[in-house]
Symmetry: C2
Subunit: 243 residues, 2 copies
Amino acid sequence: MPNKISNISVDCVVFGYDTITKSLNVLLIKRYLESKEKEVLVDDYVLTGYHVYEDETLDDSATRVLKELTGLTNQYKKQFKAFGDPDRLLSEKDLIWIDKEAFSLRTITIAYYFLLKTEDVDVTRNKYQAKWFPLRSLPELGFDHKKIIEEAHEDLKTKCLAEPIIFELLPDKFTINDVQDLYESILGIEIDNRNFRRKLINKKYIIPLDEKQVGVSKKPAQLYMFSKDIYKKMYHKNYLISI
Amino acid sequence: MPNKISNISVDCVVFGYDTITKSLNVLLIKRYLESKEKEVLVDDYVLTGYHVYEDETLDDSATRVLKELTGLTNQYKKQFKAFGDPDRLLSEKDLIWIDKEAFSLRTITIAYYFLLKTEDVDVTRNKYQAKWFPLRSLPELGFDHKKIIEEAHEDLKTKCLAEPIIFELLPDKFTINDVQDLYESILGIEIDNRNFRRKLINKKYIIPLDEKQVGVSKKPAQLYMFSKDIYKKMYHKNYLISI
DNA sequence: ACAAAAGTGTTCGGAATACACCCATGA
DNA sequence: TCATGGGTGTATTCCGAACACTTTTGT
């Protein structure tokens, strides 16, 4: 077992998207502690995270943490910010918790976010009581994790406008409206369906399949897939100055 | 004197722009060490950086480091990435250096970049033998600082397209061509002067002054200033999806 | 037949792109 | 007067923005 670095951790904001409820979700784990007298000391949620080991990179550390929580590897991952305020772990509940675990009061955390397909995660069986929460109605959060999630969301907003990472959150086969709904969820805006649809269909890397939705109770929609290969082939950086 | 955290540092990529040579520069400090036998052990350059103190935020830490190097505060600053590979400090020279200083072999550094006006820095008098180097011809660099500078540059490229941070690098009074040259330096592209000029002049926050260049040996150019106030008033986020 | 969501076309205006010459100034 | 960089105008094309009704399907 490698040694933990006591004052450096990674925290992972795991984003998933529920196409049914059209909700952008975050995967959180339960933090619960009772005193000997059965008094509830800590009862809230936190991001999944852990100390960095002596011999691993930060990226590997985040990957390991995600794997432990979800069993998944090879998900889209981004290191977006380090959080290290001296008082970031100093609420009363956090102190109780830190006392129980064994980590430094002055821990710097390197925060990552992951994008994955909700259906790839089996929430029911994992030892952390992990649960999806809509980004728009998060539960009470420990440490500075609310702030971390907010900043992850901000970064995601920017990033999804410039790179095709949106498809990391969708099933392999999706409808145009799925994509639109997801953009609307992430960005918190409304998009004109006709313009959006035209725009997307004109992209060569959005490929219509010989398939339609099944099991829907209304007119089934055309399914599409995203081709990363074609995207990469066609990609050329543009330097549009938008100030 | 507050305690240093032995395994956490900040490193600062200080960008400056020389309007005369049209060169985007980075401020580096000398790293030099001889053995008792006067053999040169280490002779290269590094970014300015230092340990984080126990009681300060990461941002404060970076601000402190910049102030010590340049005397400046209130410069544009961005935390852009943490670097923490286990082997990031393990070249031969780095080991010699680390032996001399006293920091952990497994140090994570939180990297910032700063944008400032070259002429605000008095390079001649500072104890670090600081020197400006064109980004395009950097000297030999210690640690993983070459990589850090490259990633800072990448982030700057993206950021300057979306936010008016370019003006942090220019004197208060500048010409349109100064701005264009700077964009070209940062992005490594050529821009059509007529189109660029029109675009900029049409911005309400680019304000023509009743002044022209003086001391130039050719036709003196019109000077402009950037109004952050007007920019902020006019700003509204747009959600253009460019994938 | 009806409810629900899928899907479709056109017009307008603003901005990016491409492109070449004259002008003002100091030396 | 000349060399240097400053400054200017137009035509074209493309894309985003606005906008409302018809179609298809399952129930």
